[in-house]
């Protein structure tokens, strides 16, 4: 019987890209996207700081622009905090999925053991206990998956607000009198980076980890 075992059966899970391995890969991609958002959020913070100084120099003509630049700084801070909570969820997910990966190798070894001596009551009870543990771990993972999806949606709403602020800054720039062209340039940059974040979040929402296509 054992002579019929294939090399892949000897190798453990029998395939290198099990569900858990794919999940881990998707989580890694999500994490890379989060890192990108955090980097852009930092950029917004510095840009907003410069914009505030520019508005001060422009004086009365750029009062509205100054207020919006301040709001964009707050937006950058909120966005970074939102990414921290996403990162926490990612960390918990990595921990759980890594255990699944490790367990799946052992499961494969137990399956091979079962193929060699089926009907062993001890082996049956060990497998039963392990299955129960797997079920509760799977529940924890789907709970975390849901929380992560909700957190991504929250972040997306936040980015909509950022988009509105950037657009308003563009309008306010037009009233900047002699500073209109430099304010216009800055607000255009705001618009660009918020767009960058929006596309990152869109990638996150479409991740196959949430059943999407990306």
């Amino acid at each position: 019987m054992t002579a019929e075992l294939t090399t892949s059966q000897w190798h453990g899970s029998g395939n290198g890209t099990s569900g858990a391995a794919l999940d881990l890969l998707r989580i890694v991609r999500i994490n890379e996207e989060i890192k990108r958002v955090v980097a852009v959020a930092f950029k917004i913070n510095i840009m907003a700081l410069n914009a505030i100084f520019l508005a001060k120099r422009a004086g009365n003509a750029a009062l509205g622009f100054g207020v919006l630049s301040n709001e964009l700084r707050v937006f950058s801070k909120d966005l970074r905090e939102s990414m921290i909570s996403l990162t926490r969820l990612i960390h918990d997910l990595v921990a759980e999925v890594s255990v699944v990966l490790q367990e799946s190798r052992q499961d494969a070894l137990f399956r091979r053991t079962l193929a060699q001596c089926s009907g062993n009551p001890m082996l049956d009870s060990v497998l039963e206990r392990r299955n129960a543990q797997h079920d509760s771990r799977a529940q924890r993972i789907s709970g975390l998956r849901r929380s992560l999806r909700l957190a991504v949606d929250d972040a997306a709403r936040l980015v909509e607000l950022g988009g509105v602020l950037a657009k308003s800054a563009k309008i306010e720039a037009a009233y900047g009198a002699g500073f209109a062209s430099s304010l216009g340039q800055v607000s255009g940059e705001f618009d660009g980076v918020v767009e960058e974040i929006r596309s990152s979040l869109e990638i996150l929402r479409r991740s196959k980890f949430f059943g999407g296509s990306a």
């Binding site: 002579a3 075992l5 190798r105 070894l109 137990f110 053991t113 060699q116 001596c117 001890m122 082996l123």
Partner: protein
Amino acid sequence: MKTTQTIFEDGTHKWTAIVRDPAKPDYLIDTNEYLVQHAGQGLLLDPGGAEIFPAVFSALSAEFDPSKLTGIFASHQDPDIISSLALWLEFNPQMKCYISWLWESFIPHFGGTAETFVALPDEGAGISLAGLPLQAIPAHYLHSAGNLHLYDKQAKILFSGDVGAALLPPDKQGVFVEDFSSHIRHAEAFHRRWMASNEAKRQWCERASHLKIDMLCPQHGAVYQGDDVQRFINWFDELHVGVIRV
């Protein structure tokens, strides 16, 4: 599946060698596992790597109730010795793992908790298997820096880990050494390269010569019995080890 062979039996006191697996792929080194039984309890010596767990477990459970395994003795820390630990613990989480103190904090990477490990001192220690006295014997640097063998003075058997190991060709798969001079050719390169210290080897040969040994059971290759035991000790004593020129 691996096969089992009883190599000693006296009432409930029994030694079983778990050997050879025709289905094992060549990229995994072949290993021998030994089960010592006494009064219904079992101690498994060098249970082997995770990859061969199915074969060892199946062979063992055909012979013995795995829930009656009270301990695992690991001669040293190598993956072919003890990487199956977590799998065995699934059957009896209370099981003890006897290992040199040197590896006490390394082996938990293979499984187990703080309660699992019994750290054996450098000078060795007695281990009781349901009243059967067994003795862990120092064999440090042969080849591992923290290395112990297990001696059963009632059965006159020395489990010698990697000492005595031979990498046998497919046509020489007997459980016992049949012709010492042809067998030892398959052991020479292994000992020269893996054994780390001539001084440690000298001490071990001295110690082993003072034990009454009917069978010397290595973790790879074949079991030495009768006069072949002393033949092996003499051969090992004269071999120059631990030298590599690169």
